[in-house]
Amino acid sequence: MNAPDLTEHARKNREFWDGQSAEYDERNARFIERGLAWGLWQIPEAELQVLGDVGSKDVLELGCGAAEWSRSLAGAGARPVGLDNSQVRLDRARAANEAAGVEFSLLHASAEAIPLEDDSFDIVMADWGAPTFADPYLYVPEVARVLRRGGLFAFSGATPLNWLCIDEQTDTYVDRLERPYFGMHRWEAPDGSVEFMLPLGEWIRLFRRSGFLVEDLIEVQPPEGAESTYRTPEETAWARRWPMEQIWKVRRT
C-alpha cells in the first residue's frame, strides 16, 4: 500500500515505529523471543489457551514487529503471515527469520486496509501490535473479511481501565479515574503515536456488527513478581489488582 493511502494516524504511527524500532528491540527483544507467550508479562499460550491447536492453520499476525510470534507459530506447524505498518520493523523480522532459518511472508501494510484476499485465514492474531495503533472501526471489519467462516480473531491490548487510570503529568498508573469512560476512542500520545481504545460495550457491538461471536474476554492478571520489560514492578503491582491488559477472543460466524 502506498503511503498516501494511509489514514493520518497510520502515517503518524508508521513514522513513530520506524523511529523507535531499534530502541524497542534493545529494551524488549530478548524478553519476547521466548516462544508462544502473551503480552506485557509473557504469559504462556499453554496457560491461557487462547489460540488452540495452530498446526497447519493459516495465521495472520497484525503488527508483527520483529515477528517473534509468527516465528514461534511457524515452529508449532502453522503457516504464518506477518503484517506490519513499519518497514523498519519488517527489516528486523526478515533478519531474524534468516538467522533462524525460517521463511514466511512479511507484508508492509496497515491493518486498516489488509492487501490480502477474502476468506484466507483460520486465525488472525495480534499480541498488542496493530490493534493498539489502528482504528478498531477500520480493522475489525478487515479482519472479518480475511478470516474464513469459523475463524478465530484473538488479540491482546490495553483495558479501558488502563486508559482511565494513567496520570499524564507523571506518566504513571494511579488508583484514580483520570478521564471519562464514555467517548474513549483515540488518544494522541505525547511520543507522537496515536492509540485506540473502546468502551467494552462498543467492542461487543463492533464485533457483532462485523459478523463475530464473542467467545471470551481474558483479563490478564500477572502472577506475583512477574517480570516485564514493558512495565515497572510498581505498575505490575497495579495490574495485580486491576486489569491492565485484556485478550479478546471472537469467532467469525
Partner: protein, 254 residues
C-alpha cells in the same frame, strides 16, 4: 425449597426496605414507557428489550413488579418472581389498583419453582441481577428459557463498585478495592449481600450456560439529568463520565 444464606439475609433486608418501595410503587406502576435504571433511560433509546407482545416473560427479583407491569401492558404474558413476601404484597396491591393481573411467585431466582423451557425472555433490573449469586441464578435463567430465548439484565456499573465509598455511600474517583476476585459483597450498615462480577467473568458464565453475548449497554446519565433519590448509585456528574449501570443482553442458543 431452602434458601441460600445470602437469600435469607436479602429477604430480611428487603422486608425492611419494602415500606419505602411500597410508597413509590404507584408512581412506578403508573409510568407509561419502559425505562432503565435510575436515569430512566427509555428502552426506545437503548433497545435492550425485544418486542415482547405475545411472549412469555419472567422477571427475576421483580420487587413491586413495575417492570412486569410495563411489559404486560405491551402484550407480554409476564410472571414475577421475588423472594420477599412484603414486596410481593405491594405488587398484589398494585395489580388490584391498576386492574392488571399476572402470576407472582415467591422464590429466590437461584431456585425457581417453574418448569424448564417455559419463557421467551428473562429480565432483571435491580433484582436477582444484583442480589442473587450469578453462579446460581444464571443457570436458572438458562433453564427457564426456551432455545433462542433472551436474557436482559441490569447491574451496577463495575467501575462504580470499585469506586464505592462506604462512608459517603456513593462513588468518587478513587479505586477502593481490587477488580480481580469480584463476586460477593457485604457493606457496613447494609444487612444485605450483593454480587458483582468482572466483565470477563460475566462473559464466561453466560457462555458456560448456553448463552451468546449480544450486547453490553453501558448507561450514561443524560445531559442535565437531575439528581435522583438513590444516592448510592452515583450522582449525575459521576454518571456522565463513567457507567453507573450496565445492561447485558444474551441469547440462549440451541
Amino acid at each position: 425449597m431452602t434458601l441460600s444464606e445470602h437469600a435469607e439475609r436479602n429477604k430480611e433486608a428487603w422486608t425492611g426496605y419494602a415500606p419505602e418501595y411500597a410508597a413509590n410503587a404507584e408512581r412506578a406502576w403508573g409510568q407509561e414507557d419502559v425505562t432503565w435504571g435510575v436515569w430512566q433511560i427509555p428502552d426506545a433509546e437503548v433497545h435492550a428489550l425485544p418486542d415482547v407482545a405475545g411472549k412469555d416473560v419472567v422477571e427475576l427479583g421483580c420487587g413491586t413488579a413495575y417492570i412486569s407491569a410495563w411489559l404486560a401492558r405491551k402484550g407480554a404474558r409476564v410472571t414475577g418472581v421475588d423472594v420477599t413476601p412484603a414486596q410481593l404484597e405491594t405488587a398484589r396491591a398494585m395489580q388490584a389498583k391498576f386492574d392488571l393481573e399476572f402470576p407472582l411467585v415467591e422464590a429466590s431466582a437461584e431456585d425457581v419453582p417453574l418448569p424448564d423451557a417455559s419463557f421467551d425472555l428473562a429480565v432483571s433490573e435491580y433484582g436477582a441481577s444484583i442480589w442473587a449469586d450469578p453462579y446460581l441464578w444464571i443457570p436458572e435463567a438458562s433453564r427457564l428459557l426456551r432455545p433462542g430465548g433472551e436474557l436482559v439484565f441490569l447491574v451496577n456499573g463495575t467501575i462504580l463498585v470499585l469506586c464505592f465509598q462506604e462512608q459517603e455511600i456513593r462513588p468518587d474517583e478513587q479505586l477502593r478495592r481490587p477488580y480481580f476476585g469480584m463476586h460477593r459483597f457485604e457493606w457496613p450498615d447494609d444487612p444485605g449481600v450483593d454480587f458483582h462480577l468482572g466483565y470477563g467473568d460475566w462473559i464466561r458464565l453466560l457462555r458456560a450456560n448456553g448463552f451468546e453475548v449480544e450486547d453490553l449497554i453501558e448507561l450514561q446519565a443524560p445531559e442535565g439529568a437531575p439528581p435522583h433519590r438513590y444516592e448510592a448509585i452515583a450522582g449525575p456528574e459521576w454518571a456522565r463520565k463513567w457507567p453507573s449501570e450496565e445492561i447485558w443482553r444474551a441469547r440462549k442458543t440451541g
